[in-house]
């Protein structure tokens, strides 16, 4: 699962959704892998306004990457700064969470991630 996908995932428990602490989920015991993915500048630029930057910053720090700036880069930044573009590409599209857990900050439930696939099926007491 790509880091980008983590930016769109939250706790599956209904009662957690209303709390802002359920997003983003927190990686635990994370094993990362890097993929070779062709850079697609246009896709990244188009995706930018759809990201929750604050959550991405949290995720990035929790995974042990250098701190992201507080505010997202502008489209112009991405177009003019090739290194920035590549770094963002590498973080969002090439970095994969392969094994570990995703933990909800509200209910504490841990969702297992195996072979890059998180499992959000809930035990019956959480449904």
């Amino acid at each position: 699962m790509k880091v980008l996908t983590l930016n769109f995932l939250t706790c599956a428990v209904k009662s957690c959704k209303s709390s802002s602490d359920s997003f983003p989920l927190h990686p635990k015991d994370a094993e990362l892998a890097s993929d070779d993915v062709e850079v697609n500048p246009q896709l990244l630029i188009n995706l930018l306004p759809r990201l929750d930057w604050k959550a991405l910053k949290t995720t990035s720090t929790e995974l042990g990457f250098p701190q992201l700036p507080d505010s997202p880069p502008t489209i112009e930044d991405l177009q003019s700064d090739e290194k920035l573009l590549k770094d963002l590409h590498s973080l969002l599209m090439e970095t994969n969470l392969m094994e570990g857990k995703l933990v909800c900050g509200v209910c504490g439930h841990e969702y297992a991630v195996r072979e890059g696939i998180p499992n959000f099926l809930l035990p019956s007491h959480l449904v």
Binding site: K2, L43, I45
Partner: protein, 353 residues
């Protein structure tokens, strides 16, 4: 909808004054019981079946429905989409300029979708390298804009359609193909649509909201061999014959009764190797695999048969369910034995939840 009320018990109190409260509690209890029952039923007649037939099912699912393909192709570049009930992930890489995440209740199908996506991704990376080596791309990044973009088809999660893990109001679109018809009560079908609607952005001034595309099996299948049509039974158990590894003859001569009706349901591929048999009896309640004896002279040979639950939608019913779920219908139509609808959240957010 107040489906979240989990009244643990509704023991009748002796007080005669709170009849109304008692009635409400009883209704809630009945509802909870019904809901648990429906869940258990779907576990047997939908989820369990897909787990068991996953590889076989996946092998028959490769051709996209035209209405789905055109919906996906018309999404703007950079749009973020979800495929709820993605199965083997055949739609995930269809439009390379959007980012899609798939979910499915079946871990087996999700694993298949993931490995399929990874293959695509590797292929793509290899080709890109080759092009760079051949000097077709600027080796420093290829910002030439000619890049078709890698189809992202690797992103899949295991999740239940009624407990989705997606950040709310974040997606630009959601597709849900051949899924809702597996839900065994109308309340659950409407609830499932409500969950899809919750995933997409609401409209704001100048920005249209996100759209959902829902695709379900139709009751009106006058042109199909299945023989279902208007006025017929809408809730059915449809058999799936899990053929053994040995290739069967293209056209099995005949089968015993309805047991042998291998169903290819919603694949975009016409049922090419099925016999034109009558539909299964609606009252069928057998769970789990039974056996179908093929009548190919091979007396001892049996294929396990799994029965999947379907609710066949009658004309107009899908639109009704969208409205009941708080959505607004944008367009709808019929395509090869299926009803489909494109919908969005009500513009001035009728916050129903």
């Amino acid at each position: 909808m107040m489906t979240s009320t989990h009244t643990p018990s509704a023991l009748p109190s002796s007080s005669a004054t709170d009849d109304v409260a008692k009635l409400a509690a009883a209704a809630a209890a009945v509802h909870a019981a019904e809901s648990a029952e429906a869940e258990a039923y779907e576990r047997t007649h939908v989820h369990g079946v897909y787990e068991a037939i996953a590889p076989h099912f996946s092998a028959t699912r490769y051709k996209p429905w035209p209405a789905v393909a055109s919906f996906l192709q018309s999404r703007p570049p950079g749009a973020v989409g979800l495929d709820v009930g993605c199965g083997n992930g055949k739609y995930l890489g269809l439009n390379p300029s959007v980012y899609m995440v798939g979910s499915d209740r079946s871990a087996s199908l999700v694993a298949l979708a993931n490995s399929r996506g990874r293959q695509l991704q590797e292929q793509h990376a290899q080709e890109a390298k080759k092009r760079i080596a051949q000097g077709e791309l600027d080796a420093t990044g290829g910002t030439g804009g000619e890049s078709s973009g890698a189809a992202v088809a690797t992103e899949v999660v295991v999740a239940d359609g009624l407990s989705l893990p997606f950040r709310e109001r974040a997606a630009d679109f959601v597709i849900c193909i051949a899924v809702i018809h597996h839900m065994s009560t109308r309340t659950r079908r409407q609830e499932a649509i409500r969950h899809l609607l919750r995933c997409v952005r609401t409209g704001e001034a100048g920005h249209p909201g996100g759209q959902i595309l829902v695709y379900v099996w139709a009751l009106e299948q006058g042109n199909s061999r299945r023989g279902w049509d208007e006025g017929g039974e809408q809730d059915l158990l449809v058999p799936w014959v899990l053929k053994s590894q040995q290739k069967q003859p293209k056209q099995p001569k005949q089968r015993k009764g309805q047991k042998g009706t291998q169903d290819q349901d919603t694949s975009g591929v016409a049922a090419s190797n099925t016999s034109g048999e009558a539909p299964p009896p609606p009252a069928e309640t057998t769970a789990g695999p039974t056996a179908a004896t093929t009548a190919d002279g091979d007396q001892g040979h049996t294929d396990p048969v799994f029965k999947r639950y379907y609710h066949l939608y009658r004309k107009g019913e899908l639109e009704e369910d969208v409205l009941a779920a708080g959505g607004a219908v944008i367009t709808s139509g019929y395509e090869r034995d299926n009803w489909w609808v494109v919908a969005a959240n009500e513009p001035l957010s009728s916050q129903s939840s």
